[in-house]
Symmetry: D2
Subunit: 351 residues, 4 copies
């Protein structure tokens, strides 16, 4: 580990992804936060947006000046709405800046898929070719060598960590995979929307984006790679009356009906042996999202139903940490040659 | 409708099922509440248990004296832990009292299934033979003629209302049915348990009883009847940080991949045409549990995923009303020859 | 009670006040809802705004045409932002329509006070002179004779019901009155605001409008009348992470330090003897806001601290019912000569 | 700072105070956790009580053997119900162990006050004389030299940090102080109680212990010391539907009506200049409890109402950290000669 801190910036620091990054990077032992950039809030002290940081964070939001950013940062996180990062990344990369994009822009190998689901034409095929999908548990080595990371969506993170050992090792009939996912409302971001008001969302529960949520093709791309065959998954997100956390309940039919739960617990433990943030639970224990609150952990519980021949996998993460900013910092750690878990919380406050 | 009110009692009135029944029956135009019975709280004014009823409910909890109850009641609701009703119902029925049991005791045609899942031997086969499963949307006519009702569990109510049209009319491959259900914590009753404390359950989410919840065989019994073939369903309940409400997300593979969403909306609307409490939502609208809060309604939303060939049905109820006490009152209405919806709320307070 | 139903309209039906009125009036036995009017949503079916009313409410929102409204309505509720009702009420009254305004426009006898706190000049002194403050527990007779009601704010309702017996009968030193009030977030209305998002407001608690909330002069006007002397109260509102409910904790120094709690319970019970919605709790019982959920009730608990010589009064209401729409319907009942409690819920669903 | 870590134990580690201590001490750079002791759970792995610690904490709960504890610990935290610590502390102290008691046992200089409010006779006057009240912002120097700390209650911490500058410097009329406090339900501990169930407490709000809560004499003891005169405060706690956090809203009449808000902000900032955990907010900003979530911070907002001559001070803490375990660790830091803020979180996750 070098003696000098890395200079790190954030473009789009005002949203929930941004404030998590600020929170994590301020306590990261190898990082100096040198640039917060934004459009609408340029010129404001950052603590105007988040008053609990008054007297704690003295940074002011600066305009999005790519030249200046590249000269003052070794690495930059992009926390912008979909469709903006792809217009900035090429210039930042050209100046030698590492780029970690939290939007969907660099998650798709095939830009046609991106354009189909995100309704934007893309000209940056060459840049896109450099991008690595930022899920360290699957692509640790590629991330170490990457200059550009497409950080995974929150649902794909929880879903793929639950599914990967099954798909990779051929334990399930791929087309039977169903992901019933539940998320706290912070996943919707800091934009004021009526359906996200406490008065509307509290004490209630519902599905949304049924059969058409944009995280579906993202899950399918990686799942297909793992399975070695093109596959479709059923993915249904639900909004839960809580702030943070995702639980993915994953169903699939086992190829070998003789496989039992304890076998799978052993298989999962081996699969994630080198992954410090994935915790495989003992038999009969199912994860609570609160266990991961404010941490970069993913808890996984596994059950087999001998009556139906299905495996049920439950994975729980903090959608804003392992599902977003924490995972991005985990990627940064790998890209910089630091310890993978550096500066990333692993102990929740409970209750 | 007769001029005289029916005399109605509740055995086991102290829990959440009991307080819902008290609430509904106090405002029921044809009912006089004549007997509240309980073990541990016998002798106490009911408002000691629920202080908001001070000066509103002047009833005192009396001992469980079956003789006295039968003489003072035309119909009795039993809101007791599983395994107690089957020891009381025969005596009550013998004295001419109609019985509506909220526990699992009279839900199973086959007492072996009951004994396997509820760990109690049963001697009352003859009485059990008289019992009708109290889901009016499926068994309206039988309920009208019944003296003994086994009221459905909360999860089976939401699940079966979502599945019935598909199973009855053979639209799905039966063994593909997966029910991912989510419930508020009031479903756990008024017993003090650490995992149900606000401090533990708030801000969190998890599954429980995976592959072994006792509502599974109850769903399977009715689903098998509808499908005309013995089938197994996958059922997974989750605990949601809210007080009331169940959402069932039901997945199944369509036999005919050409069937589209709007066809199914038409089919569901026809199936439930005579059912005043089931509301089929227009395309693209998915139910929120809060819409059913404090009502006897069941909202159903339907989606077809042409990419996977699956139908996804979402049903939302208030677990304590349509999922328990309200449905029992709906059955009482039918048994007494009253209008099915008498005294049952149909308009939620929102938000 | 007449045989014909009264024709009733709502101008400004899209917000939380509007939906409560719709909910209550649809089940009111003497009311026919004939006109829903709004600006931005004119032309839309009402169920587009509140999808749980699909197939239940067939009304379409119409433009705000005062002529048409007055011809089709015997009484009109105004649920508009502050400063709009005073431009509409005179025309409606002139055509013989009774008007019940839910905004602040007709709450102040002295229009200078209104202008000082609400920043709008007013020309309708004559109309304002006709307005009666719509708190039936204090002004029942005047409301019966009124054509124009200024319905109280939610905080003033809870605060004044707690304070009135003390002030009216001179039991406290008026200037010592402190009201620490707590409200669910639905009090902020259906407007999308960042601080009202579930992600921001859930799991948190804070004060707002300290020493400057606009309900202060409204409380002071009525409190001064009751006390027979001009007085100032200390009023501090807080936002609580829940949907509905207000709790007012009221502190004041007793003039007679020998007065004990049970005396005051007797005095309060007598003061509210003719008021069907105010429930005085027995000693040692303090109200929970949830007891009033979805009802027009106000629960009041009383304590005296002999160590400090203070009385502490706790009052709990549903901010959207007794604190807004329910109280307005209570006024309508009085104005129409109906029973005061007609069509107003008195039994909460619990829990 | 020495090179060797201090050996630290916890007696009573199973409750919410215990799990916070475990959480904080595991990441404390100068502490080695050597002993977890408990009665009912002795023999169990600690992760049986808190499954999210599976594979993270390998400690087993041992019996409460004071001899063994003293030999294996340099300092011990006691997280027991009131009335037990006073039977253990003398023996631990005699063996040279530093003792930090989280219960009420060592908070009172005058044991008669303790006995009056806590209903237990005490024989350990000599030991009690050694105890220092563990509020570092007021008693930093005494804590540094102490062997025995009576850690403050959660409400007294929030209340006294809000009141101290006013009382110490004579700005207010002491007898006018009113503390209206609001707490999340985790303050009630991990015991299963019906009124603490999510189903009961969610969506609701109420006061408890009005005019008789046992934190009252604790606040009064310290407040009287600061004021230099025996005084009584009015203290009312409320239960809020959230997990963590306390907000104290403090009212008092200013002696000098000319004192303005900005003067007081300056005075508070000076008073807490050397206190790293107290954050005085700029004018017009009032604290949200969530800002302190999982940290040892206390946020203070100040307002003056020139209309009434009162000051209103708002203080927010995490009741389980600054209100309990974090503050105890802060005391340990001082007792051991370490930096006061060592190992204590100062940055909340937001939202």
């Amino acid at each position: 580990m070098g003696n000098e801190k890395a200079r790190v910036g954030i473009i789009g620091a005002s949203g929930y992804g941004g404030i998590q990054l600020v929170r994590l990077l301020l306590e990261h032992p190898q990082v100096e936060l040198t640039y917060l950039a934004g459009h609408s809030s340029a010129g404001k002290p950052y603590s105007d947006l988040y008053p609990h940081l008054t007297h704690r964070v003295n940074l002011t939001i600066e305009p999005i000046d790519l030249e200046a950013i590249a000269s003052r940062c070794d690495a930059v996180f992009l926390g912008l709405p979909n469709g903006l990062a792809c217009d900035m990344a090429p210039a930042l990369l050209a100046k030698g800046c590492k780029v970690l994009d939290l939007s969907a822009d660099y998650r798709f190998r095939n830009l046609n898929t991106y354009t189909e689901w995100y309704k934007k034409d893309r000209q940056d095929q060459a840049t896109n070719n450099q991008a690595v999908y930022g899920l360290p548990e699957l692509y640790r080595d590629a991330i170490r060598d990457a200059q550009l990371i497409g950080c995974p969506g929150c649902y794909p993170t929880a879903s793929l960590l639950a599914l990967s050992p099954l798909l990779k090792q051929g334990f399930i009939v791929p087309e039977t995979a169903i992901i019933d996912a539940k998320s706290g409302t912070s996943g919707g971001g800091r934009e004021a929307k009526v359906n996200m008001l406490l008065a509307e969302a509290e004490g209630s529960l519902g599905a949304y984006g049924v059969a058409k949520h944009r995280h579906t093709p993202e899950i399918e791309q990686i799942a297909s790679d793992l399975a070695g065959t093109e596959l479709r998954v059923q993915f249904t997100p639900h909004l839960i009356p809580m702030v943070r956390g995702i639980l993915a309940t994953v169903y699939a039919t086992l190829r070998d009906p003789g496989l039992v739960r304890d076998d799978l617990i052993t298989i999962y433990s081996a699969f994630y042996r080198a992954s410090p943030f994935v915790k495989i639970l003992p038999h009969g224990v199912y994860p609570q999202t609160k266990w991961a609150w404010g941490t970069n952990l993913c808890y996984i519980g596994i059950e087999v139903d001998p009556r139906t021949g299905r495996v049920i996998v439950l994975s729980a993460i903090d959608n804003l940490v392992k599902g977003q900013a924490g995972q991005a910092v985990q990627c940064l750690n790998l890209m910089m040659g630091w310890e993978e878990s550096l500066g990333l919380p692993q102990l929740a406050f409970y209750p």
